[in-house]
Amino acid sequence: MDLFWGVLYLLLFPGFLFLLFFGLLFEWVDRKVYARLQNRVGPPIFQPFADLIKLLGKEDIIPGNVDRALFQYTPLIAFAAVMTPIFNIPLWSARALFPLQGDLLLALYLLSIPTLALFVIGWSSVSLYPLVGGFRAATMLFGFEVPFILTCLSGGVVAGSWSISDVTTYMARHPAVMLLLLPGFVIALLALEAKLERSPFDIPHAETEIVGGTLTEYSGKKLAVMRLVDDIGMVVGSSLIAAIFLGGFLFLDKSLIWSGTDFTPFINFMLYIAKSLFIVLLLALVRTLFARLRIDQMLDFSWKYLATGGLLQLFIAVVYAGALHG
């Protein structure tokens, strides 16, 4: 029976199918908001689904001189890595499906794998534009990863636990702490924007500079998978931020029972969707507002402002935790 439920969790909910559906839905929300902010109509809701199906049906070309194994399997590894953290993030109750002691660190680690995958792809493509794109992705990694980790960890420091579920529970019980973590929220949001390689940080696939960037040599199914990695990265990334920084205000800690049925999971799940949609909207707004930074400017910005802010946030968290527990 456990096996049955395990497969169900993996494939249906909150695993593959759920993430697939939500990733494509979030992509649509992002594209639509982006378009409306630019005076455009934007795509219809089925467009991301249609794009995916079309790409899956297209010819899959593997260039002659690529490193075949790396070229073929890196997308799958990135795909698996980016999906896994969803099992550690609380979606409908304060407890995630498979909470671990230290799953916050695990999620941060797994979420950085797609960027490394892009570097490997750039390397294995043996082509100029992917190579430059891959180098850029790897260079950028040092810029955004540090502030992202610092701010996410400050959530853990405040709650006194490295488990995402514990952090959410703590936030739900002490909503005021969220204000303390507000700078961290902004920094994590910008770092996530960079992590997902969206404008103004879309440097590794800057169209007007290096054409398709890292994914220039990809086509068909593999390209579809890499696009899904982006979409699912958006879902998982925004869920993680929602769980750590927006846990408190919008989370029912007590159970809500109405005529014999417990509605708490349902309401909490809806709240989770609202929170992550809110984050996607903010991400789309950032994408609309700014011109793409150059790689040196991006690193400059991350180290000067984001990393410093992240350290400051960690310091605040440590002081708070020390005052509370110490």
Binding site: Q38, E207, I210, V211, A291, R294, I295
Partner: protein, 391 residues
């Protein structure tokens, strides 16, 4: 030893709207050297003019370029009128200026959008291009066409600005003025735009003069030079405007000049609508042009445009030579590209607002010997008739 990779940009590349190629040698992200290869789009317009009558050439001239169609047609007409000794009516002069300025507005709005796209800011592209629709609509209202207005003829213009259009044109100009002022504000204030354009691709005043830059590229390097002011044609002698220059000498300066020129153009258009003199819009011109030659200058949106026309007494020209502004700006571009980041190549290239269809030349590349030379049409004919082999 420093190793550099050569990154080919073009002939087909998202950063160019027309085919051209840049061989960029990069050391990491820095551009060490840039090799500009143009002429993927040679159409032989100059030669084609020699087999057409002066009236037929009007249509050909208009199609030298899509964005500055009025510039080429006006420049050509001015040249032919000079040989004929034809004085065109006052009203025609004003209408030529009016259309010319509307064209400048749409061309500069077009540029701001493309510049936004080059630095990954598509929002700016969508905004400016939406507003550009309004100018195109106004041009359509007057001429019946959005791009190729076909307003010019030898001896004047073909269509009048009607009294009943005056109000809606004024409203359109009002709208554009508001938007243009907003874009000047955006360009001067928006932090990421400044980050990507300020201090990039410096072109000192002296170098700009030495390499004969033209148009906004030159004025962005603080040289006050504009054919409209220096050698007025059409109605510019009677119109009030100031030549915009900046002393920043960078990509931002070139952009700022273009955005500010929109405001100047709107000022001139309003003045034309106020002071448009009455009378005929054209005089009759003879079909045959006496032998002679003329050089005609025109300030196109991208800079000084020169047409040289030589007639031989028949109804077809002997020779027409077009010096498009982009051709004059290639030299400074290759200079500007040195030392910038790879990421800046797109915006630096775009800063001169290259218009390739105007400036294509035939270049032969010999891969085996690694040399490149410009060829003549005769040599091309010989090659067609004789052996092939040189790629």
């Amino acid at each position: 030893m420093k190793e550099s990779i050569v990154i080919p940009i073009g002939p087909q590349h998202p950063c160019f709207k027309e085919p051209m190629r840049l061989d960029i040698s990069v050391d990491g992200e820095r551009v060490v050297d840039a090799d500009i290869i143009i002429s993927f789009n040679h159409r032989g317009v100059e030669k084609a003019t020699e087999a057409r009558t002066y009236i037929q050439n009007l249509y050909l001239m208009e199609r030298v370029c899509g964005i500055c169609s009025h510039s080429h047609a006006t420049c050509y007409c001015q040249g032919v009128e000079e040989i004929l000794g034809l004085e065109i009516p006052e009203r025609a002069r004003y209408i030529r200026s009016f259309i010319g300025e509307l064209e400048r507005i749409q061309s500069h709005l077009f540029w701001i959008g493309i510049a936004g796209h080059e630095i990954g800011w598509d929002t700016l592209l969508m905004y400016t291009w939406k507003d550009r629709e309004r100018v195109n609509d106004m041009l359509e209202q007057i001429s019946g066409n959005r791009i190729h207005y076909a307003m010019n003829t030898i001896g004047g213009v073909r269509r009048d600005i009607r009294e009943e259009d005056r109000e809606s044109l004024k409203r359109g100009l009002e709208f554009l003025e508001e938007r243009a002022a907003y874009y000047v504000h955006v360009i001067t204030e928006e932090e990421t735009f400044l980050k990507r354009t300020r201090g990039i691709a410096n072109l000192p005043t002296e170098l700009a003069k030495q390499l004969c830059a033209v148009g906004p590229t030159l004025r962005g390097s603080n040289v006050k030079m504009d054919v409209r002011a220096d050698d007025p044609y059409a109605a510019y002698e009677d119109l009030d405007f100031s030549v915009v220059t900046t002393d920043t000498c960078d990509v931002w300066g070139r952009g700022f000049v273009k955005a500010s020129e929109i405001l100047q153009s709107i000022r001139m258009c309003n003045q034309v609508l106020e002071e448009l003199p009455g009378g005929d819009i054209r005089v009759k011109a003879p079909a045959k042009v006496p032998a002679g030659e003329a050089v005609s200058r025109y300030e196109a949106p991208r800079g000084e445009l020169i047409h040289y026309i030589k007639s031989n007494g028949s109804n077809m020209p002997e020779r027409i030579k077009i010096r498009a502004p982009t051709l004059a700006n290639w030299l400074v571009m290759s200079e500007m590209l040195k030392g910038v980041y790879l990421a800046d190549v797109a915006i630096v290239t775009d800063a001169i607002d290259p218009c390739l269809c105007c400036s294509a030349r035939v270049t032969i590349t010999d891969r085996s010997r690694g040399e490149r030379r410009v060829t003549t049409l005769d040599a091309l004919r010989r090659r067609r008739d004789g052996r092939t082999g040189v790629a």
